[in-house]
Each structure stands twice: as C-alpha cells, then as structure tokens.
Symmetry: C2
Subunit: 450 residues, 2 copies
C-alpha cells in the first residue's frame, strides 16, 4: 500500500513554522508498517494543489492531507479537492450543528465564514474534530483515499489517532496485509554510541527486529523495532531483545519511552522518602528547574541556591573564605563545601553542587573553559550511629558550548542522584573526555582539613 503525505499552507512552505505534522503522521503510519514514499509540502495555491492531488491519485493508495480546512479565504483544500475530483460541495447539517454548539460552549459568536467548514465533497465520510471547529473528511477516487485533516497539531494528532489510523488499518486488513510494527525506546546516559554498539554486538535477534542508535544530547537512545503478524507477536520479539539489552547495559539504561531523568530521580526520592537540596554555580539554576518541572516535586525538593558570586557561596552556603582564596571557586574543595553546606542549610538528606566554567569567557591555562567540579554530600544516616556523611566529587572537562556544558553537567548530577538512590556506583560519563574522579565515604570533614 502506497502512502503519501501532503502538508498545505504558505506558512509551511515559507519556513515560518517547522513542519512537525509531517513527522507526526509518518511516525504513526510506521506503527502500521507503512512507510510514505512521498511527502510533499504545498502553498495555498489552487494550481499547485490540483497538480499534487492528481499526482497523488496516480501514484498512491492513501493520501493524508494536513491543513487548508480553516474558515479563511486562504483555506482551499476542500474546494480544490472537490473540483479536482469533479464533485459538488454539500452541506453536512450535523457538522454545522456541532460547530454552532462548539462556539456556544466557548462563549463566542460563530462567524459567517465558518459555515464553509461544514461543506464537503459529495460522497465524503466526515471525520469529527472533538477539539476544534474544523471537521476533517475522507473521500475516495479510483481506489485512492484522501484523508483531509486540519493543520493545528493538537487537532491533527487526535483525529489521526482516533479516526484515520483505524480506517487505514481496516483497509490494510481488507488487503490481507497484516504486518504490525512495535517500537520501544531505551534511554541511556553516560556512555558513548560506539561503546553501546560494541556492548550490544552479541545480542541475539530475529531478522525482523531492528536495533538503532540515536543521540539526543546528552543521552543516547536505543530504538528497538519489531515486525509481527500481530501486535502481540511483535511484542514477544521486542521483549526478548529489550531484556538482553538490560542484561548487557544494566543501570546505564535509566528509563524507557518518554520518562525523563528528572522524573526517574523524583520517583526514587518519593519512594525512599528522601529530600534533596542543590548548590549550583555554573549550571545557574538548570538542575533546580529540571527537578521542579516535575509535578509533586515539592515533596522531595527542599530548594537550592544559585551561588554565582563568591560572596553568595560564603554568606548563603557557608563556604569558608579561606577555601575560596586558596583553591578558587572552581575546585573540588569548594564543590564539596557547597554540597555539604547546602545540605545542612536546607536540612536535606542529600546535597549536590556544581562549580565550573561554562564559557565562553573566564578560562585560564590551569582552569580552562569547560572545567567543572561536581560534588554530592549525604548526611549520616540516623540510628546507624554514623558521624560522618558520604561525600564524592569529580572533575570533568566538557569541551562544549555554554548551553551544552550546562545541560551535560545537569544530567550528570541527576544521574549521580539516581545512582546514589539505587545504591549503585556513581559513574563519570565517558561521553566526553574527563579528568578522573575521586570518591570516599565518610569524608564529610575533608574541607575542614584544607
């Protein structure tokens, strides 16, 4: 079955908006093992549209059209498609009623121009739009079926899922074509693509299971895709490969699907009833921002200090001025003092800190741009008669631009939190050149000796 995507609109063709609908439709079709041979973007121009519709009838079985269903004069999809197919436009009373009640619901008056959105080529099947004013429609000609959807991504996405894909699936089944694709995404952090490839080279898998690597900075994603005669059959194949990946990579895989690192950390903190506080210098609030972007984070995130100025490191975090003078703000000693200081000030279980030079300025031969020290302090467990907490720090050089430097440092800190909560070893990301690390339990007093 040949599938084609047409995205229509001057704003798309002019590059004023990035055409994300195309990617969205293509991804969803892939779930039915359908790869689009043709993806075309067009202006709101009747001649261009007519030519594209004709070509699509010649070469494709299914055509998904996005855009051009709005109420304005520029919205021409329905009109031009009807004309191309030699059909009249017919009023659909149901659609008109729904449109009227939509406007009544949001308390606005329906403009006369909206009426045109209730007209469709004769013989159309109406595709309801539960979240907007423009319904879509499908219409068939010479064995080619057009599905026309509004260009608003939220509306398109919902209508694609609920109305278009089931119809496409039914057509596939009527053709006896029953391959299904299932995909899973595993998220890893701290290990380069070449290392991943090497570690996974011995994985056993059937020929119709694909394993692909994709960098989504600062993570590396693994995408497993399996074909089967049914969703269940594809799932069985995929599960076997996913299990093997987990066996090979262990805790390098931090999550699956859409789950972000900060959500994993939040889940662990919630489960264990622990709290965290942050002392950020070079990351400038990015770690706090990530952690608090997760709903419910107030249960485990007590707060943080963005200590950009040395005076703030002293006054708010209690970093001794002698330490700042002797070692400089960007040093393991200061990082450790910041982590311990913030932990105690906020009365948290764990304190983490960053201090570094994200650039572009501020570097020196001894302390180049890209240098960053990260430290973690955990207070002594109650009831276990420990007198000293856990402390760990590492020195990295991330030779990246300012934004990526901050992003990689942030993800490193979040991964340290995850690993500490899981009780596994903290790792230094081998994504990039690093300059060693040092770890020792019970060194809570290290700074004081310096």
């Amino acid at each position: 079955m040949k599938v084609e995507i047409l995205t229509i609109g001057d704003e798309v063709v002019r590059g004023e908006i990035v055409d994300s609908n195309k990617a969205l439709i293509a991804q969803r079709l892939l779930g039915l093992d359908l790869e689009c041979q043709h993806q075309v973007s067009l202006r709101d121009d009747p001649a261009d549209m007519r030519a594209a519709f004709k070509l699509a009838i010649e070469r494709s079985d299914v055509v998904i059209v996005s855009g051009g269903l709005g109420p304005t004069r520029d919205d021409l999809t329905t009109e031009v498609l009807a004309e191309t197919l030699g059909r009249e436009l017919e009023l659909d009373d149901d659609s008109l009623e729904q449109m009227k009640s939509f406007f009544a619901r949001v308390g606005r008056e329906m403009a006369e121009t909206n009426r045109k959105q209730a007209f469709f080529p004769t013989g159309s099947d109406i595709l309801k739009n539960p979240v907007g004013t423009a319904p879509g429609f499908s219409v068939e000609e010479n064995g080619t079926v057009f599905f026309c959807l509004p260009g608003v991504p939220r509306e398109l996405s919902l209508m694609l899922e609920e109305q278009v894909l089931p119809r496409v699936e039914a057509r596939l089944e009527s053709l006896g074509s029953v391959t299904r694709i299932r995909a899973r995404l595993l998220r890893t952090f701290g290990v380069g693509e070449s290392t991943l490839e090497k570690q996974l080279s011995t994985i056993a898998r059937e020929g119709d299971v694909e394993l692909a690597f994709r960098t989504s900075f600062p993570d590396n994603f693994l995408r497993v895709m399996a074909r089967g005669a049914s969703i269940e059959a594809a799932d069985v194949k995929i599960e076997s490969v996913v299990q093997q990946i987990h066996e090979h990579l262990g805790d390098l895989v931090y999550a699956e699907g859409e789950e972000r690192m900060e959500e994993v950390v939040g889940g662990l903190l919630t489960e264990q009833g622990r709290t965290v506080a942050l002392a950020e210098s070079c990351t400038g609030g990015l770690i706090a921002e990530k952690l608090t972007d997760v709903p419910g984070s107030s249960a485990y995130f007590l707060g943080g200090v963005v200590a950009y100025a040395n005076s703030a490191k002293e006054a708010i975090l209690g970093v001794p001025s002698s330490l700042l003078e002797e070692h400089g703000a960007v040093s393991s000693q200061v990082a450790r003092s910041m982590a311990e200081g913030v932990c105690k000030r906020f009365g948290a279980d764990i304190g983490v800190s960053t201090t570094g030079i994200s650039g572009p300025g501020g570097g020196s031969p001894e302390k180049p741009v890209g240098l960053v020290h990260v430290a973690m302090y955990q207070r002594p467990a109650e009831g276990r008669h420990e007198t000293e907490g856990f402390i760990h720090s590492s020195e990295f050089i991330f030779p990246l631009d300012r934004t990526r430097h901050r992003v990689l440092t942030t993800q490193t800190v979040l991964d340290w939190l995850r690993r500490r909560l899981l009780g596994v070893e903290l790792i230094d990301p081998d994504l990039l050149r690093t300059k060693g690390g040092s770890s020792a339990p019970g060194l809570g007093g290290t700074q004081k000796k310096q």
Copy 2:
C-alpha cells in the same frame, strides 16, 4: 524562477527527526523573494530519487537537495543524480586532499568509505564544506540547476549562506529579476494579539509591505516584510513601518530579531552597573537559568535561592514564620518579604521573587492553581538619603499548564526588571486574566508591620 526543495533520508521520511532543513532553506530563499512551489521529502531509495530528480528537471529552475552525501551505503544522492543525468562520477583531487586534512586535524583516520565523498558528476561545481567531511556540488541540466548539500543542519546552513544563495542571486540577476525582500521581527511582551492589531490598524504603509502577527508563547512577534528593487529600497520601506510601530507600541516592544528578554535585561544591568538576586518558589530556578544562560551574566547576577520548602523561605531568606502562618506561602506579604530578603542576603541592588501554584495539584478555593505573586524590591539609593527601598508586588492568575505557568511568570519577572531599569511603569501582562496589582514606592517595611 521556480524553486524546489528535496530533503532526502529515511530518518526524515519516517518522522524520526523533524525536517528543519526544509524550513531553513525556505526562509533563506524568501530573502531573495523566492517562494518554493514544491518541497518534497524522499527515502534513500534510488527509484524514488530518480523519479523526483526527473520531475524537478521538468518543473523547476533551481533544485536544492539536502542529505544523502554521507559515506555510507545509504547515501545515494550523488550516484543517483549522476545516473539520472547520464553522467559519470569523477574524482575531485582537491576535495580528497581537504578531506584527508580534515581527518588529520581532528586526529582521526579517514575510512576508505569516505573516498566516495570526493566523487562528483562530470561538469559539477564543487561547494566547499568548511565544517564537515562532505563537500556539496552543483550541476546543471537543461536549464535546471541542482545544489546538493549535506543534511547536517550546521553544515547545510553555512554552505547555503556562503555558496548557494550568492549563486542563486547571480542567476536571478542574469534573468533581470531584481526584487529583494527584507524582513524584521519585533518582539513584544505583555499585550495580546487583538490589542496589537487594534493599536497598529492605523499604520501607514505601502502595498508591498506586509505586517504579520505571530504568537511565540509568552511573547507576540510582529513581522514586517517589504519588497523592493534593491535591499536598500526594501529597507527604506521597512524602516518607515518599524518607526511607526515603535511610536504606537512604545516600550511594549522589548527587542528586535533574535535578542531575548534575558539578554535585554543583562544589557541594561551591565550598562547601569547594577546587580540582581532572585528568590524563586514556583518558577523553581527557571528565572536564574534564563539569566545565567547569557554569557557574562556573572557580572550582574549575584545568585538566587530556589525556596521550595517553607523552612527554606525562613532559614535562607529570613521570611518571618508568623508571615507564613498568617498569610500562607503564596501571598503578597511573603512574596515581598522574599524579594527584600534575597536582595539583602546577597547584597544586590534589586531582588525579585515568585511564589505561586503552578499545578497540577496544590490548589484550593481561595488559592486556585494558577495563582502567583510576584514582588520586586530595590534597596535605597546610596547618597540620596533614602531610607526605604522601592517595593512592588502583583497577584496574577495564569490558568495554564505547569510548564507554561512557569514560563509566563518568568517572562513577567524579566519584563519587570527591564521596565524598572528603563525607568518606565511596570505592567501586568494583559495576555491573560489577572487579579489586580498594587504598587507603592517606599514600602520596604510593609512586611514588618504584618
């Protein structure tokens, strides 16, 4: 002149990546007043590519091809285009040498497969790639010229600018076609699109000057586009409209082009030699993150406190516990105390605070989800014998999801800073329903009375 864009690659057609090259190329062509009639995306499939190249020769004068120039077996653009045009592939010695020296420079060995990237269809004009391994090329057939570029956005963007657009421009000039387009983008914050449209309805402009509105949450952008026989002529027209917009909108326009609000604020703080400190609750570090994303921000940003827990508000910012008990953490009293507290703790000139309920949970009938208090404190000016600082606070209800709530609150705070530094009135964004505001200079001691 008819222009067509072809983006090639399975990852594009499958929707694994969003096709941003298409938008980038289209935008740049628009500067030459060229609108692409056709934009097509293709798989790495020889038959599909052949058909697309043939169609492009029939219907277009300029074809810009992105992708398929890499070293792997999937990269087929050069080979298939040569075959379609009935040409041989020829080694370009210069390109091979440059490739070798590129690999030497980054300290990697050049793989044998990279050699193929130095072969081009006979009669090609080589397009140098200063930042990657794959050179591009242009080749002409029957009056249609193909420009083939690598798909890596950074490489494509640079080569488009330096190598392709000048060649396209020269072709336009040889055809006597000399319309030029210039565009400018004005960034506004705090005012809705309908208000903007109303305020600008009386602007005088020539017929070939377009004025368009675009929401880029939480801002509204104005795009002015003018056509002229030369860049200078287009600039004159555009300048007249831009000046009128400034007259009508005044300080609602906060910047032009790519400049972000945090850069404007950073520029003003630098100019005036002032410093700032932040006390964030519901924004969770987002304001600090924005401010510190600007290189050089350490000169004016002393630091911030993300005070999520009440205990942190008390211990770190010195908010009286009585205030928290009496009014709750989300109150104007606490917001004012936080702003003054952080300003004094960090020894800054200005302190700003946020405290609110970003949701989805945590609301109550009196304090619904979406409620947020923002406050700003400025310490008494030295040498002017003032004893009390400036303080201002407002209460907003932003009925938005968590992320957008934080983003809008952050932009409001940054805009307050901008306005305070410019010496103009602070405004409450009318983008969304708000619940009044209160301002009074010299109320530094308000909290203490409560």
